[in-house]
Subunit: 364 residues, 5 copies
């Protein structure tokens, strides 16, 4: 059924972690990880070159000849490859461990000659699957690690390929890192806005005809909003850390742009918080609407009972078998000429009286 | 119906944003944006001049000849015009992007020679539509961007036109910016106070006759208060940032005035918070009132049932068809001389006894 | 009715404000303001003098001849008078605007040669009407502005009049200001303690016989506590600001005394917070008590129904008209010798059995 | 009844305060205060001496001859005596006022040559009566003021009397003050742990047989926990202030010990917070249990009604008096040979069918 | 029963403490403490040696000859032994007191030449029993105290025994302490993830068939999550303190690793907070589901009552005994030719009409 679809199991935001007590910095591949593939983008103000399915040799060949190198690694199964990349760009082992053990909190770590940024991206809008994207950047390189195919970087790739003048080619590695991180942050807008519209739809439906399944949908949406909040807050903190720290490989001009990304993150948080407030209000309102409906039903039951119980009692009286023959006191009304119609009229009067009484009390 | 009116769709506070991954600083017009119109106000201590429907040429002609220039741009559809204004006043491209992508969080950004203030204004009290107003100000200019016609600046215009001595003409661009921002903040008082009165009205009505639709109204009002809170808090933060920072184009004397505006914002927040507390209390009270009413109805049902069930049972007994002819033990009361009246009296006694019992238990 | 009295309309804490967009520092009288009256108290260590219904001339005459001058202005209708006072003591125009526009948040502003303190005072315990009291003090003067007659300053006046040695006459204007502010803060104790006793009374009553009107009272009291909290917190902040700032016209010795007032404010907040916690607990408990009562009623209804429904069914069976004449299978019991008493005994057994069953299930 | 005992009136934590507007530093005895009694303990590393019912003369005689003097004053009725003590040890008048006006928030004030610590102690576990204990300490003296007999200082007294080496006699007045304050803080452990056990007991009982009185007990316990929290937080703050401030009469070595006391206070707060969380959870669970029970009862009622209503209708049909003589269509079943047993079997079938229906729907 | 198992008594997190007022630093054994056993691990870059059931003599013999010594003491009953260890490593007496009095809040204290870290470890997943682990470390030693056998240190022991190059043997005592603390923190992952799966299981079950016992399980799980939160937060604080402070015996390189542990702690807190949010949502949803079920039952009852009450009234009418012989007005229908079938049809029409009415109202 369509409804059952609506509540299908979300992919939980699991944290991959090494076995308890393992030596830090040891890379152990997740058995479920995808095969690693490299895509190398070489950038200079005048030209650029993209090598799909690049090898370590490509990396060694080109790395030092271009002002900015962007290496994008998709799939985290190939541990040797990842370690080799770490050696070439001198990446910190603890950071590399965080790359492989996906599900890290978004954060920024600064090392001597490079920064390490962990972001989380919504991978699939329908099942709220999140994917960790790790971004290393130094003076002349950006290295990104993704769990799977599919990323929000296509617009950045197009902008790199755009004709001159081209800020992305001129401004260096930190600006490229900013562009990538900004596109990750911005990729949250569409699903959050879609959720907002879903909330509005449920609200409209609920005000017309409250249903049980709406409650479940509202709960689902609130849970999703909670998860989103839990992802967005550390992203905000990471961005604030990026802006606040003084490291030589982040230029002050770039910080103004990171500030803009921080503004976007704040707007996202604001949207999600608003959504949660709305959802909490709607859940309360759903409860009160269903409570009100029960109250209506109970009132209805009461009215019917209160009208028919006395009537049933009366017909019971006249159904008693006291023998009119034995005594003039025994149910003389049964033999009265207008006995039956009088009794019917009397019962009608009782019913009307009770209805008037209820109308006065505003129960009907 | 009037009620349905009351819950009509509010205009959501949507965030306009560029396509995900677009190059920052690119201005892309909202297709729904209004045609831009400029109004230029030239101010010197001795005189002032207003040019409606001004052109860029007017701007170039007058800009340098007056101590203070106020350019008010209504409607954000004309991107070229906005970019031209940005070039003339040397406004930062990221700030201009925020002007066009309305629905920004209220904030302040300081640039080398001008500040950029984003405010939100209640555009229409009835549907709680918000409008973004962007204010740039430097040493000798103020530029404001509005989404639509209709603003709270008329009193400021009148004060500029007022006879001498005239602080607005003497104190420079930062004081003019203060006057404009202050009028935006103050424009929140009337709708918030109207909402307070609405709350009071619902409370009075509710204590007299609780109704389902009040619940809905209370929920609506609380949601509005939540939205207002979400708008006012960042405005407060922006004002505090304005006062705290040291930039050459905001004079210390003006900061005292901004401090006054901050006080107003705090009072607004206090009013809204009070309203929310009241609304939460009223919602709880509505629930408890309707609960109490259901309890009353159930008690009523119980009393009627408990009185009539035994009586109906009794009349049922005397309606049984055991044959008095077959045995002297079979329902001799049916043939008793006072059988019928005695049975009626007995049933009356049972009813009275139960009523007394309920009275004692305080159920009636 | 007495109850209706209990929930009568409180005077809302309204904020008077100038028209939106009015020039700051413009004094506009509240049409409801009382006629201004001045009372001048001239203080020196050796002697003191009080001039009721003082005029501006009195002020000009005496002001410079006494070490400390306390001008108390009651009623805020006379704008010219207030502006004149502002000119004599060199008070800041924005502060004077806050004096006239009552309903300000309690706060402290420091100016070059005087401080401006806004306090709120409970004007009438019964209707929780608040009154703004503005206190200006500099090196040798204290100016207080009140909305109405009636203030908590009488003990201070008596202490000024007390025989020597007299700290209030010796310690200067800041100590006098402290004494006045302290008496405003202390004036909150009696109504808060009265409310505490009211809460205790409702609790006792509620535990004996829960009633609907208690719910309403508890809600009223909680709302009052919320309002009080909203008044006391900014007063606390204002006092903390007074102690923290370094201005030449507040002596360090006086700060120890302001610290004591701050302690009192903290105790008041603690009392109010405790009261709110208690009220929230009592409201929850009232709900659960009334819920428990409904549960009792429903159990009662169920028991009666479950006992009488089978019995009524049984008497219905023996009231059926199957013809014993037509067949020996048709209701032979009706003609049995002990048919009737046996049927009664059987029904008794069913009833007793059900009651035993309920007792076992602890429903009775 | 035992239950009524359980909810007996707690002694409220009242704040004694001087009349509103009284001159600060004026000591006014609480009419309910106990007669003051002094106990003087004179301590030197080699020996110690205790004088019960000491007089001011004893104080003057011994004060300067011993390295550490501990004066313990029980009962606060004797204002002259307290003022005399204040004069001898040069205690600050505002602090002395706080001694007499019991019910102060726990706090620390530092004066030039002595500290003033206000603590609150649980006086009687059963009724949660709190007692204020004021501790003054300087370089060579400790003065404690208690409201009543009974204190947690006995272990300290024993440790003073213990044989050498004896830290309490060697380490000076600040260490003695620490020992006293530590014993006050530690005296909270037994009642809090007792309350924890009470909570566990109620939980066990509740899970077996939920009762109305448990709700009341849970509310009482939560209120107690709220009060305790309100006492413990300012004590924690006071201890943190003691450690943070640099005053010559608190030695750095002693601060390590005060740090330990702070740890104890944090553990107390943690215990109380846990208790509150548990109580809130239990209250919710009690509500849901009693709600579930009502649902059971209603289901029961419904099942019985739904089974017997159709049956009663059926017996009513066959109890109708349509005359079989008048027409072959009129109730021929009444004269059928197996009419009666067939009707009984039919009704049995209806009942069994309904029960099977309920079983299928899992209502039974 | 299996369910009763599910709610079995958890071991409370009790705080052992010395008698109120005891002299600080006095070690008093918990009567329930286990017999102490020592295990000495001697570590140098080239080799290592483990002595199980070591004695104080072993300690004295080897202590100074190895660069790093790790003494692991299991069981806290042997006070003399613990005091002896304290003397050898110069541990602070107050810290040793905290070792013996288990149930301390996790914390870090820095002393001149060693740090003292208190951690809490989950001892048994099933009953949520916690165990205190105290870690002292200085320049060349680590001393750990555990309450019981069973710890998460086995992986660390294996890594010490691993072949060269071996960071654990090279990096000194602070790195060893890090490895131990990290393994304690990481040991929280499995039980928290197990709880998450349990929550998911209950959710699935609940959405299919809501049951009372789920409520109890959800409450239990939320309480566990609260306890966990109360343990993890101070651990986070302790780790942050470890990183922030500058002490000579913690190398800067090691701080990067402690930072990684802090990240793990933050992830744990995030997981627990998410779990709590989910549980609160599920509890609310369970309530609303069971409320909805009751509403269904009540609707059902109402429908049956409303249908059968009028019918029963009708059959009662025709069961009245008015005598058709006495008057043509008295129940002529009883003698009508089609009286009986017409009455049955009429009642059928009433029933169908009511059902149609309910269908229209969407009650069926």
């Amino acid at each position: 059924m369509a409804k059952a679809e609506g509540v299908k199991k979300r992919a939980p935001v699991k944290t991959r972690r090494p076995p308890v007590g393992a030596s830090p910095g040891t890379l152990i591949a997740d058995p479920a990880a995808r095969r690693s593939e490299l895509r190398l983008t070489l950038i200079s103000p005048e030209k650029f070159k993209t090598i799909d399915k690049a090898s370590i040799d490509d990396l060694n060949t080109h790395c030092d000849n271009w002002p900015v190198v962007w290496l994008d690694c998709t799939g985290l199964a190939n541990i040797q490859l990842i370690e080799e990349i770490g050696r070439i760009f001198n990446l910190h082992p603890l950071a590399l461990e965080d790359v492989v053990n996906t599900g890290q909190r978004p954060k920024v770590d600064f090392f001597e000659d490079h920064a390490f940024v962990v972001m989380r991206m919504i991978d699939d809008v329908k099942v709220h699957r999140y994917e960790q994207i790790a971004v290393f950047f130094g003076r002349n390189f950006v290295v990104t690690f993704q769990e799977r195919e599919g990323d929000p970087f296509d617009p950045v790739r197009k902008r790199i390929a755009a004709s001159l003048p081209n800020r992305l080619r001129v401004r260096g590695a930190d600006y490229l890192a900013y562009a990538l991180i900004d596109s990750i942050v911005d990729s949250y807008f569409p699903p959050i806005e879609a959720a907002s519209e879903e909330v509005d739809g449920i609200e409209d439906e609920m005000l017309n005809t409250p249903h049980k399944h709406q409650m479940r949908q509202l709960h689902e949406l609130r849970r999703d909003a909670n998860v989103l909040k839990g992802v967005l807050w550390p992203m905000r903190d990471a961005l604030a850390t990026l802006i606040r720290n003084d490291v030589p490989y982040v230029k002050p001009e770039t910080k103004i742009f990171f500030n803009d990304t921080l503004d976007h993150a704040l707007r996202l948080i604001e949207l999600v918080e608003n959504q949660r407030d709305m959802l909490t209000g709607l859940i309360e309102m759903h409860l009160s609407l269903s409570q009100a409906r029960t109250n209506d039903v109970i009132s209805y039951l009461t009215i019917v009972s209160v009208i028919f119980m006395p009537l049933t009692f009366l017909v019971g009286i006249w159904g008693m078998n006291f023998d009119p023959e034995s005594s003039p006191w025994n149910m003389p009304e049964l033999k009265a000429y207008y006995g039956y119609p009088a009794s019917l009229l009397f019962m009608l009067a009782v019913a009307v009286g009770l209805i008037v009484f209820f109308k006065r009390r505003k129960w009907l």
